[in-house]
Amino acid sequence: MKMNRREVLKTAGLVLGYTITAGSAAAILGGCSADPTPNWTPETLKDDQVKTLEKIANAIVPGTDQLPGAKDVNIAKFMDERLSIYATEEEKTAFQEGYSSFVENHKVTGMSDQEILDLVKSEIENGSDFMKAVHEQSIIGFCTSERGMKEVLVFKPIPSEQKGCVPLEEVGGIWAI
């Protein structure tokens, strides 16, 4: 994240041929929020919910030997923020009810990743809005995370040029933004 900002400043200076002043640098750097920390306290989710959601998300977006997955991006924090800050009261209630009815029938602790994926699939096929939302949020949370954007997707904050048509391998993946 720091690197991006430095890169913005550097290229702005190059392009404009002037040195970015301390004031303007502070402004551009200043808009930054803290990195997700491993020590966080959920605002809405309970501990068991954090564990269950993490377990499902990690199965949906497992990562590979080389690539990070949901487990590497604090996915439960993302879900907690989405729920706490952006969800309406109705959506919050729907989530809690969906969660309760899910855990009444299923216990994901002890399940293998494959068992979880089979469950996710059958739940969604059976019309579970709760599981549909968990699937969606797992992917959104991962693909909008810093590591997901930079290590799995192709991240270029300052493209500096525009080409209409290039061979796919020149990009080598999906643009993060």
Binding site: V8, A12, V15, G17, G31, I124, S145, L153, S160
Partner: protein, 581 residues
């Protein structure tokens, strides 16, 4: 730049410019460069170029919940501004007003998007820059609609050249009668599906043109300047947050700095102009009354000429509030047309399609621009439509689906990780921008029984799309689908979102192109402004924002405001020299 934050009790300048947006910045530059001591009165806060673009380098993960969207709690302050779907995003929300702090009355739903700060909406504008054509300036006369423009394209051509050279517009000349060529920096590139669409449309519709959007971005050096005020476009497509490179035109990047370097410019922020002060002895305006936005104190500022550039509705409201014995219904309102004939461009209608092939192709850079389909109906006998007047253009583009595809495709586990390595299929969409006819019934007026938080009468807006617009939309949806189909698109879906959110989201104003509230015309009995944008009966007051528009065209209008402003400023200075003002 000198910021006179104290606001001296009584100050006299050569020229007052009300508003610092697209047209106000141009007025300031032209008047100051021509030697007039000029004060810009901006109702909003001060903004410093680059320094105050605080979100310019933020990524989505820098916001809680990895989203640029605002929370429902925050949105409570933006019941109107939020209707666009994008204005209230965190990256640029600070460039739009809280409706709760700046109320107005919607007699019918009206999407009045406003930015009260130095630079106004020039920071957030869409940057598409098209000239009106000879047929646009002749349209009202030909159709017998409203009043005739008092000017023609030839009056405007040198001024379009002039402003394009200064601001830098990227685009491609195509030699079209309905969309005149201009002075352009290198065009941006179409991607392979857009190129296929362009060829397919030309082949199937008798040479119908698809061109790259003309946009006020620097894609090459400006001819007038090799100084370091402006940088070239870096294709970040985060323009609305403010550009740290100054690569697109805004007042802050492109006009106010040039006004400032003359030494003739004073900018006073937090200054709400409540009225223009008329002097019956001279039949001229002598100044303006200003309410300090912070202290609510009033003071008067005087000048020889006044440019109103507060945006169509705000400029008209200032005049409506400028009541005197000579002008009991508002300064310059002998015609009764002041505040009437509100126009906008109607949008939210078009079509989308998928395109097969080109799986091995992609693009680089986030192009802050799209493709443009210039108007192709009602140009001549062969393209004449029986059921509506005027026409529309389309803006759009093609792209490959990104990571979001894995949600819809229900990917899981290992398969999902693999799918995140390859972009999805190509889709293309085009959305119409339709011309809106001037109609006396579409109006705004002042309600003296209800005052706003600054002690100004509340603005009431009573305007809606009429039959011509609504009929045109049917054609806008079907013609979009036809072109995509003919160009090889699959699963073509046309849409019209006019009814979204009980009709509010696409109500008038959504184009953010309010126009027409003080139209230009030849006859003082039927128009407010003359052919040089002077108020007919008070010649040292010029209006060169959207208020002046006599008809709307279907082109994005800001470039025309710039050209009108430069032309009017030139006239004002000539008239001052001749001692006519």
């Amino acid at each position: 730049m000198y910021f006179n934050s104290k606001g001296d009790a009584e100050v006299t300048y050569d020229a007052i410019v009300v508003g610092s947006g697209i047209s106000g910045g141009w007025a300031a530059k032209e008047l100051a460069e021509k030697g007039l001591k000029t004060v810009v009165l901006e109702r909003g806060r001060k903004v410093e170029h680059v320094k105050d673009y605080t979100t310019a380098a933020m990524e989505v993960y820098d916001w809680p919940g990895n989203t640029e969207e605002s929370s429902p709690e925050t949105l409570k302050d933006y019941p109107v501004q939020r209707r666009t779907g994008y204005t209230t995003r965190r990256g640029h929300r600070h460039w739009f007003v809280k409706d709760t702090e700046h109320p107005f009355v919607e007699v019918k739903p009206f999407n009045w998007m406003r930015g009260y700060h130095l630079g106004g909406r020039s920071i957030t504008w869409g940057r598409q820059s098209y000239r009106l054509s000879p047929m646009d300036f002749e349209a009202n006369a030909k159709d017998g609609i409203a009043v005739d423009w008092p000017i023609r394209y030839d009056d405007m051509k040198p001024w379009y050249d002039y402003v394009e050279k200064h601001i830098g517009v990227s685009g491609q000349n195509e030699g079209l009668a309905q969309l005149p060529d201009g002075v352009y920096l290198p065009p941006m590139e179409m991607n392979c599906v857009e190129d296929k669409f362009k060829k397919g449309v030309a082949e199937n519709f008798g040479g119908r043109m698809v061109t790259i959007g003309r946009t006020a971005h620097m894609t090459g050096p400006l001819s007038h300047s090799n100084d370091s005020k402006r940088g070239q476009c870096q294709f970040r497509n985060r323009c609305m947050r403010g550009c740290p490179y100054g690569a697109y035109f805004s007042s802050l990047s492109s006009t106010l700095p040039y006004a400032e370097q003359t030494g003739n410019l004073t900018i006073v922020c937090n200054s709400i102009v409540s009225e223009v002060i008329y002097d019956p002895e001279t039949n001229l305006a002598k100044g303006v009354r200003v309410i300090d936005a912070e202290t609510k104190e009033t003071r008067d500022v005087y000048a020889k000429i006044i440019f109103l550039n507060a945006s169509a509705i705000a400029s008209a409201s200032i005049l409506l509030n400028s009541r005197s014995d000579r002008f009991p219904n508002g300064l310059g309102n002998d015609s009764g047309e002041l505040g009437h004939n509100i126009m906008d461009h109607h949008l939210g209608v078009g079509a989308r399609a998928d395109f097969e092939g080109f799986e091995d192709k992609y693009y680089t850079g986030r192009r802050p621009n799209g493709i443009y389909v210039p108007r192709f109906v009602n140009l001549d006998k062969s393209s004449e439509k029986k059921d509506y007047l005027r026409g529309f253009g389309y803006q759009g583009g093609a792209s490959r689906q990104g990571w979001y595809k894995v949600i819809r495709e229900m990917k899981l586990g290992k398969e999902l990780m693999e799918s995140l390595q390859t972009p999805g299929e190509w889709t293309m969409g085009i959305g119409g921008f339709g011309e809106c006819l001037p109609n006396h019934e579409n109006k705004m007026y002042l309600d003296y029984d209800n005052m706003d938080p600054f002690g100004m009468p509340m603005i009431k807006i009573d305007a809606e799309w009429k039959e011509n617009e609504l009929t045109m939309r049917k054609d806008m949806a079907s013609a979009a689908a036809e072109m995509l189909e003919a160009a090889g698109g699959k699963d073509v879906r046309s849409y019209d979102s006019i009814d979204d959110n009980e009709g509010k989201n696409r109500a008038m104003g959504i184009g953010i192109h309010e126009m027409g509230t003080a139209r230009m015309g030849r006859d003082p009995k039927t128009s407010v402004l003359n052919k040089f944008n002077q108020i007919h009966a008070c010649k040292n007051v010029y209006m060169t924002d959207g208020a002046a528009m006599t008809s709307a065209g279907c082109q994005n209008p800001s470039l025309t405001y710039m050209a009108l402003t430069a032309r009017a400023a030139n006239h004002a200075v000539e008239e001052l020299k001749k001692m006519n003002l």
